[in-house]
Structures are given as C-alpha cells and as structure tokens.
Amino acid sequence: MRDVAIIGVGHTKFGRASKTSLELFSEASLQAMDDAGVVGTDIEALFQGAALPGFEEGQVMPAAFSAAELNLGPIPATRYEGACASATVAIRDAAMWVSSGECDMVLAGGVEKALTMGTAFATRTFAMSCHAPTEGPVGLTFPGVFAMAARRYSKEYDIPLDKLREKMAHVSIKNHGHGALNPLAQFYKKMGNLKVEDVVNSMMVADPLTLMDCCPFSDGAAALVLCPAEDAKKYTDDPVYVLGTGQGSGSSLSKMADLTKPVSRIQSAKVAFKHARLEPKDIDILELHDCFTIAELIALECLGFFEWGEAAEATAQGETDIDGKIPTNMSGGLIGKGHPIGATGASQVYWMVKQMRGEAAKGNQIDPVPEYGMTDTLGGDFGTLCHIILGRTKK
C-alpha cells in the first residue's frame, strides 16, 4: 500500500446556485486540477459524493456525466451516497484506490443542490436517511433527531436544559463568526456577531433546537486531486498527506445504545487514529460535522478531545475557538459555511488543506499553520460516519 497525497483542491461558493450540479462539480474539479497543475487526461478515476441528485434535478448516475462533462474519457466514475457524509466516503475510497496502486491520479469530491429544493421538500428528502420503516411514520426530521440527543445530553450529564442551550449557542456564535469571515461561505459577512440571546430566541425548529442551532440548506461543490505521496512534490510544494481514514455505520435511532455516544463515530475515529498512529492530543485543528450545535459537542467528545459531558462547558469557555485548545470549524463549519450535503466532506478537506498551506481567510487561519488536522463527517442519524486525518508531513 502506498501513501497518498492531496495535490490540488477546488471549492465553489456555497449558498444558492443557479448552475446545475454538473456545472458546480465541474467548477470545483477544474479549480482542483488547475491547483494541481494537471489536465483531464491525467485523471484515471472519479469518486463523487452526491446524496440526493434524483430529487434535486431528476438526475441519477451523476458521476458518469460529471466525468463526461469534464471530457475525462471512459474512466471509472462512481457516485458515493452516505447521506451527509457522501463526499468523505468518496475521498476515503479514492485514497484507497491510489494507495492500492490501481490508480496514480484521481479526482474526488462532492456536490449538492439542496437549497434549490425548498425547506419542506428538502426536509422530506433529508429525512429519507432516517430509518424509513420506523422513523418515517413518526415524521422525524434531522433537527428532531438532534433535539432528542440534546435532551438526552442534558439528562445524562445533569445540565439543566436552559443552561445547555446557552452553552450550545456558543457553537453557533463561533461558527457563524468564522463563516462570516469566509468568502466562500453561505453566510459570508453575515451574522458574525451573534449573541446567546439571538440563538436561543430564534424560531423553534425542534425543541430545544432553534433555527440558529441548525445549519442551512445549501448548494455547492468541492473537489480534490489525489496521487501517490511519492509523486506529490512533482506537482506542488505543499502536498497534504492522507495519514489515516476510518468509516463506521450505525443503526436505526431506536437500536442505538446511547444517542450521546454514537458507536459508529467512536469506532470510525478510532480506526482513523490507529491508521495515522496519532492521538487526539496530536491534532492541531478540526473540521467536524456541526449540522446542529449539539452535534458539534457530541462529536468533540466521541473523537476524544473532551471527556464525556465536558464539551459544552469547554465550548462556552472558548476552548474550541481559534486560540483555544482545539480550534474547531475555522471555516465556519456547516452552520456558518453552509451544508451542501454531498459536498460537505470535500469542503472540510479543502479547508484543512488551505489551513496547512496558510491560505485560509484572515481571522480563520491558525498560526502557526497546523501540522495535523482531522475531518469528521456524519450521515443520517449517525448512520454513516467517516474520518480523515491529514498532515503536512508523511508519518
């Protein structure tokens, strides 16, 4: 097995897009190819995360048409679907294909046009990655699932719900703060100075989660070019190495032992750390799946950055902000940057690469540039989890 490097990255503006998914993905891909200094004929396979293209544009099999749109020739092009973790799963498999020796240069990423669907229909299609037989008739929504997790968190750790809501608000304040500084973010130059009251008093979506506890629906795409680590310096002075990956699967909500400790995430992260031969204390920066404020707290604990029940207070104390113990979601995360679900994992890796090159936006870039970073992406109600650990040097 060979080590794998990321040599080029691309990312569209997140928000509402008038372009088609094929155009969005092409835009991100061409940016990534230009960034790497490669051309279409160099690409040997395409791995594309796309969760709901059938509902957004009546398009299935988008990966083949994406390859065609870029004139990549009759190469293998595959769509990956793991709900909101689709792109991370695609990137992980892309890295494996390169690692195995099957390919020497691949394109991986993701695309989504969720905002285009409108709230009611988008909520319906997102809820399709709940367990349809049991959770479908209940009318569970994703905010609903995480609202249930928040109430469990409050009970489990004996934090009164109103206090927990105030601590959760700090996730939204932080991530909107950084999203407002990110020119590619959906909420660029917006909501950069939220207060706790703004979050807890905004419209209730699924009690106790308000609109400001939730990430938005978004359109957008992101893509990466990967090659064997041994070839990376031919293309760039700043390759970023894939040091470890992990993936885990969960069950229906009712079969989960504990909503605040999803086994799928714990297991996936453990495998990624093991592959990378690193521990949480080695990681300088995180991009993690803050689909809801409570989701960020649960993720921080599952990955091992805080003890169980302590991420809420740590966040309120600023330990996950730019000058804290573990800067988290300096891109704005899903809450501030937007969440085109099939693209999100690729966007997380994009911003990690930018951080490692010292090219993130001022106010979001950590200094010194991070040596090691980790992405965490969650699909469904903990149904698909995927992690990637990246580094500026090979281990």
Binding site: T119, A120, F121, T123, R124, F126, A127, M128, A132, P133, T134, E135, G136, P137, V138, G139, L140, T141, P143, G144, A147, M148, A149, R151, R152, S154, K155, L161, M203, M204, V205, A206, D207, P208, L209, S252, L253, S254, K255, M256, L259
Partner: protein, 151 residues
C-alpha cells in the same frame, strides 16, 4: 453434467429468513399490539423486528407480544415538519425503552405546549397508533405506536 435441478433451486428459495415481517409488525400495531421476537439463544427481545436477534445475532427467533409498557428516554417537539407532516405540527416524537428491553420510536400523547424535560424517565404505555398516509416515495399507510404517560 453441470447445472442444478429447477426443483432444487425452488426449494432453496422457499426457505424463510424473516420470522416477523415489518408488515405483520404494523398489522400488530393496528390491532393495538406491540409485537417482537424472543431469542432462543440469549433470551433477548428484538423490537422492531429484524431477521436476526438485535442483541446476539442468533436466528432462532420466536414471535411474541410485548407489554407495550416502558419509560420515556427522550423526545422533541417538531415545529418545522417535513412535507407530509405540516398539518401535524406540533407533534412529539419520543423514544421509549420498553420493559422487555428494546427501545421503540413513536409519538408521545401529551400537550405539546406544556411538555417539558420532566417527562424523561416517566412510565408510559402504548395507547394507540399514529397513521401516516405515505407519499409518492413511501407509498401506502404506515403506522407508529403512540404512548401515554401512566404515572
């Protein structure tokens, strides 16, 4: 001579791997019964039904009826619904840990404006069902249990 007799292939096909189908589980709910499976290997109860025991993966399962009693472990009040549930808001999805062990997801029959964190831990019993009329993606009538607080 390679190839297999058609009768032999048909016989293999007739083997049943599912002891309690989801359709039968839903029929049970409609009749006011919470059905599940008891495992001959570990004694654990599986509910909603699966082809294997949810605790030990054994396949020796027997159909049983659960008491419908349990405890609320968490809930939410949905105020922004997905398409098809707009007319139901506000409603209260909940998780109930049944007396027999497994958790089930359903609705809590409670006033959505006054429900609070205090209902977590309360004893409940299945009191009926909620019927979802389906949509073009999930056709047909589907049901979930509704629970009412008994203490």
């Amino acid at each position: 001579m390679v190839g297999k007799e058609q009768e032999e292939i048909e016989k293999e096909l007739s083997k049943e791997y599912v002891t309690l189908t989801y359709a039968d589980y839903e029929e049970g709910l409609k009749a006011g019964k919470l059905l599940g499976l008891k495992c001959a290997a570990c004694g654990g109860i599986t509910c909603h039904p699966m082809p294997v025991c949810q605790w030990c993966s054994d396949r020796r399962l027997e159909k049983i009826e659960l008491s419908g009693e349990g405890e609320v472990t968490t809930f939410t009040v949905i105020r922004v619904a997905s398409e098809g549930f707009e007319h139901d808001v506000p409603y209260i999805p909940c998780l109930v840990k049944t007396k027999e062990g497994p958790c089930v997801v359903g609705w809590l029959d409670f006033d959505a404006e006054s429900v609070s964190q205090d209902v977590i831990g309360k004893q409940v019993k299945m009191s009926g069902i909620h019927t979802y009329n389906g949509d073009k993606f999930f056709s047909g009538e589907h049901v979930c249990p509704v629970f009412k607080i008994t203490e």
